[in-house]
Amino acid sequence: MQEATFLILTALATGSQHGYGIITDVSQISGGRVRLRAGTLYTALDRLRTDELIAVDREEIVDNRLRRYYRLTPKGSETLAAEAARLQANAAAALSRLKPAGGTT
């Protein structure tokens, strides 16, 4: 799973969000390192909808502009959980191997 995809799913893990909300949330989650652009975001959202990992939650009109909110589907939650567990296991393995090397110096 690409990092941008992982971050978008993570942004939606706490509840439904609209496009601009996802962009700001992803920036916050990544500590400002990942700044999604609109084109990239909507390509990813389209693909995630095709894969049924997210779905449209609701639509609102704010200041005469359309806001569409997206939410994780059960399949999306499972996929995100599996990916997070995989990354956590990888990170744990890396850290456990680095620790003895650091400790012997």
Partner: protein, 338 residues
């Protein structure tokens, strides 16, 4: 206000690069996101934003319809073509082997008679003893299996090898009908474009059904019969015997089969753009028949000069390029309303 509307217009123009179905569903939403992210006083889309939108739109066009996308006939036709074209060529190979054309006996021309004694027929089972033909059919089988599996890029590579092979050595195999050689190259050129510019054979597999198979089989039979006709009328056999009745029978048979294929396709409401793509691949026959009907002696298919080859391959090359361009460029006339 003027600045804001100018920026909005700029964004709308960029969103015009997206497929129509996607624009209808998401344009206003993306525009809202873009306007929310634009700093105060920004007058035009920034370069990075523009590049991101255009690049994303191109990717979306190449990927085909998404969850909200309508079924697009051209995209679907290309996806179907990327699946059925290799199967169609394989059918033709089978028919060439199954339905050989036996050349007339010759006694007055010793050299011709000698050659005919060794290979009395065009096509037929003896083709399987020609390693070059086996390699070609092998490539065809590999491509067909790969597209059936829904793969896109590996069959594209095999097709490229196959086309180069056809062009390089195909002409040196006299027992493979020339029309089939040219048809194979033309179909592969278009199929390559379809693989690049469509969602690919995986999408084609979703759309295909047994009716397409029936129409393809009848169309392949029409091609094979017209190939027999071509071989019955082409030099050097032209001077051997009057084969007018045989040519007429083949012509009627070929046209009849083609008509049946078209009628079935219309009755079953198959994708008409797919039929157009298939029709385009038959242009070498049209060219040859046009020459023959005007009394010309030029044998475009049998003895192609560089000029002939240009005439024969330029249309599918241009069509292939046009297909890819049409898939990735925006339709200016369908820009979003402001």
């Amino acid at each position: 206000m003027t600045d804001s509307s100018g920026l909005e217009q700029g964004y709308r123009r960029l969103l015009g690069w997206y497929p129509r179905a996607f624009r209808r569903e998401h344009a206003d939403e993306i525009l809202a996101v873009l306007m929310s992210g634009a700093p105060e006083g920004q007058r035009r889309p920034r370069l990075a934003e523009s590049a991101d939108l255009v690049w994303s739109a191109l990717k979306m066009r190449l990927r085909g319809p998404g969850p909200a996308g309508e079924s697009r006939p051209w995209t679907d036709a290309l996806a179907l073509f990327s699946l059925v074209a290799p199967l169609f060529l394989l059918l033709l190979d089978v028919l060439v082997v199954a339905l050989p054309y036996r050349l007339p006996n010759v006694t007055s021309f010793p050299l011709v008679a000698q050659a005919l004694a060794r290979h009395p027929e065009i096509g037929g089972l003896s083709l399987l003893n020609v390693p070059l033909f086996d390699i070609t059919v092998g490539c065809g089988v590999i491509v067909a299996v790969l597209v059936l599996l829904g793969l896109r890029w590996i069959p594209l590579a095999v097709m490229a090898v196959s086309v180069v092979y056809w062009v390089a050595v195909g002409q040196s195999i006299p027992w493979i009908p020339y029309p089939l050689q040219l048809l194979t190259t033309g179909v592969y050129l278009l199929a390559a474009a379809a693989l690049i510019a469509s969602p690919g054979p995986r999408r084609g597999r979703q759309l295909a059904n047994w009716r397409y198979g029936v129409v393809l089989l009848v169309a392949a039979a029409a091609v094979q019969v017209s190939t027999l006709m071509y071989d019955a009328m082409r030099p050097p056999w032209l001077f051997l015997a009057p084969t007018t009745s045989r040519v007429t029978i083949y012509l009627v048979g070929s046209v009849g089969l083609a008509a049946v294929a078209v009628i079935l396709a219309v009755v079953w409401k198959l994708n008409r753009y797919l039929l157009l793509l298939l029709a385009v691949t038959f242009y070498p026959y049209a060219l040859q028949l046009a020459f023959a009907s005007t009394g010309g002696t030029t044998d475009l298919l049998g003895n192609p000069t560089p000029a002939h080859l240009t005439a024969l391959f330029l249309p599918p090359v241009l069509f292939a390029c046009g297909t890819v361009l049409a898939a990735v460029t925006p339709r200016r006339s369908r820009l979003l309303p402001s």
